[in-house]
């Protein structure tokens, strides 16, 4: 896991350090160039000065002949000490030198600057030739001392940097922490929440960069809360709807236990069998319902051949004991449906089940293609639905006047919900010849 604050801190410290470092390098280079320029100028000036002193006879070349004259140079700073001066005759005799200057010739070149090495020391030398007096003046700078000067400047820069950088790092750390405080607050808020607490996060004092995150998070909370609400409703529904059949089962069981009359006992046990079947179907439908509810809106991608599915449902749902048969029209094998197979199966199963349950003995449930394209029609010969109840039959647990004992009031609600999720819809109408016509339509 990467921590934003650590990453931000590292980035900020590294970039700040880098900027500092390049500044130091740049200052180092420019300072060195500047120092060299200034010192070269001084060297040149000093050379000319000495040469002009000789010209004005203040220093006598003759006097210096034979014995090397010490040029009195006052020593009071490192700058003074570093300048060394030699006066040579054109014939190559050392006429005079300053204190601290080597006895060896500083340079062999004619006029101008050069760099030489004497006794392992680097020198920068300026030469002036005075042809009139026949002398050459060499003024030199010890480079070690020069570098020392530049290094002093750089050290002067680096030392505060070394002190300031940790302080800067501390400040950056604090700023990053402060900048990320809204995130921490949200994290803290979420961390201390109970699992059932799905209130939206309040966005007071939140940076606008976090608002989109907060909004998506709150959106998620709202969706989860909705889902939980539906689940809670479902549980309440289920508990409620299962209580009546359970009460029936228990009562019949008690009747069977209490009765000494065999006929009554057998009747009670038969009722228990029917009740268990019915309750089982109710449980299945409740689960179907909750499964559909949990599903998101479906894409209408899959292609379904209704004929095949309807035929397998027909084999399962026909009621031979009451001679109710299910007829599947052959044209259903030729049309295609853009719907999820499970959705179609679920809807068709409930519609056919309803039709069979409401069909009188010896009648036929007919499945056929509708007049419009891509429509399946399921017709029965039962009592139909009273017109005033038609708008309500898809309500959950609504059981109208023409109800059957196995009915739960959930079948049509499931059909409508399942089709709705797939972008289809259910149409119900009473047939002129009697019975109900259920249409799965676009």
């Amino acid at each position: 896991m990467t921590s934003i604050s650590r990453r931000l801190f590292l980035i900020l410290v590294l970039t700040t350090g880098l900027v500092w470092l390049s500044a130091v390098v740049w200052i180092f280079l420019s300072t060195r160039a500047e120092v060299e320029r200034v010192l070269d100028a001084r060297l040149m000036e000093a050379g000319r000065m000495v040469s002009s002193l000789i010209v004005s006879q203040e220093i006598s070349v003759d006097r210096a002949k034979g014995a090397t004259a010490e040029i009195p140079v006052r020593v009071h700073s490192t700058y003074d000490r570093q300048l060394s001066c030699q006066i040579w005759s054109l014939q190559g005799e050392l006429i005079g030198r300053s204190g601290g200057a080597p006895e060896e010739k500083l340079a062999e070149h004619a006029d101008g600057f050069s760099q030489t090495e004497i006794d392992g020391e680097q020198w920068r030398v300026y030469a002036v030739t005075n042809a009139e007096l026949g002398v050459r003046v060499l003024v030199g700078d010890n480079l070690r001392i020069r570098d020392g000067l530049v290094n002093d400047v750089i050290r002067g820069l680096l030392l505060p940097a070394m002190l300031i950088l940790p302080a800067l790092a501390g400040l950056i750390w604090l700023s990053v922490r402060r900048g990320l405080a809204p995130l921490n607050r949200i994290a803290h808020d979420l961390e201390h929440r109970h699992a059932s607490d799905l209130r939206p996060i309040e966005d007071v004092e939140t940076a606008k960069e976090i608002v989109p995150v907060l909004q998506s998070l709150n959106g998620l909370f709202a969706r989860v809360a909705g889902l939980r609400e539906r689940e809670r409703n479902f549980t309440a529904f289920a508990a409620h709807e299962l209580r009546t059949p359970l009460a029936g089962l228990k009562t019949q069981a008690q009747v069977a236990l209490a009765s000494e009359d065999r006929a009554i006992r057998d009747q009670a046990l038969r009722q228990i069998m029917v009740g268990v079947d019915r309750t089982g179907r109710l449980v299945r439908q409740l689960l179907d319902m909750s499964a559909i509810e949990a599903r998101e809106q479906e894409e209408r991608g899959a292609i379904v051949l209704p004929g095949k599915i309807l035929r397998s449902l027909a084999a399962e749902l026909a009621d031979p004991s009451r001679q109710v048969t299910i007829d599947i029209a052959p044209e259903l094998d030729r049309i295609e449906f853009a719907i999820e197979p499970e959705t179609f199966t679920l809807a068709a199963r409930n519609l056919i089940e309803n039709a069979v349950n409401h069909s009188p003995s010896g009648s036929v449930v007919r499945c056929r293609a509708g007049a419009e394209d891509g429509v399946v029609v399921i017709e029965d010969e039962g009592p139909g639905i009273p017109e005033d109840e038609l708008p309500r039959v898809t309500e959950r647990f609504f059981r109208g006047r023409n109800k059957v004992s196995v009915g739960s009031g959930l079948g049509l609600a499931i059909v409508e919900l399942a089709l709705g999720r797939s972008g289809w819809r259910l149409k119900l109408e009473n047939r002129d010849a009697g019975g109900l016509r259920a249409i799965i339509a676009q």
Binding site: H240, P245, L246, A247, L249, V255
Partner: protein
């Protein structure tokens, strides 16, 4: 004791009807509010077992119209919902008791006996009149400490007379207590049962009030 069960679930309705019958009640059962209203207009019951959720309305509507008519028949509500508010609404509308599904058949019977007893202004469950003793919970009858075996119909007649001692019951009222409205009643059955009761308990126990009906007799 004649009970009307109003419940839309066929299996539960049948179970209550048969089960209460075994428990010594005479139970009728209907499925919808409409049927209940019709039956209640023409028949008298000792108590009602009323489901709250019915296909064509709420059991509370039946209860309300009953109380609006100043009918004090005790009402036991049955409901699948557990919310306290439902119970409060039910009791405030005029229900006498409340049972949540699923319930115990014996508890329904016991509560119904208690309701009928309280409606008659009694607090003790055992009915006593002179040397007679009738225990509704076990349907046992004793005379002078000795058990007397009665048929279901005979027990029902004696129970009706003992719970309201002194009150005169017409032959039709007794028939109502004995038979559900779907059952055929022969014209002289009440007389036959009274005859059997007198034979088992002594002739002075039940007095015939000429032209009116029967009541517990005033033995000299």
């Amino acid at each position: 004791m004649r009970i009307l069960v109003v419940e839309d679930d066929a299996i539960l309705r049948d179970g209550l009807k048969v089960g209460l019958g075994i428990g010594g009640f005479t139970a009728d059962a209907v499925e919808t509010c409409e049927e209940a209203h019709a039956v209640l207009k023409n028949h008298e019951f000792d108590a009602l077992v009323l489901d709250l959720m019915l296909p064509d309305g709420s059991g509370l509507d039946i209860l309300k119209s009953l109380r609006d008519r100043r009918d004090d028949t005790p009402v036991l509500l049955l409901t699948a919902r557990d919310a306290v508010s439902d119970r409060i609404t039910g009791l405030d509308t005029g229900a006498d008791d409340y049972l949540g599904k699923p319930f115990d058949l014996d508890e329904v019977a016991a509560r119904l006996r208690a309701l009928v007893r309280r409606a008659a202004g009694r607090s003790r469950s055992v009915l006593e009149w002179r040397c007679l003793r009738l225990d509704p919970s076990s349907q046992a009858v004793e005379k002078g400490g000795e058990a007397v075996r009665l048929s279901r119909r005979e027990y029902s007649i004696l129970h009706a007379l003992m719970i309201h001692p002194g009150q005169i019951f017409s032959k039709r009222q007794i028939e109502e207590k004995l038979y559900g409205w779907q059952e055929e009643v022969e014209s002289n059955t009440v007389e036959v049962h009274i005859h059997h009761l007198r034979a088992k308990l002594g002739s002075g126990i039940i007095q015939t009030v000429r032209g009116v009906g029967y009541r517990l007799g005033e033995e000299p």
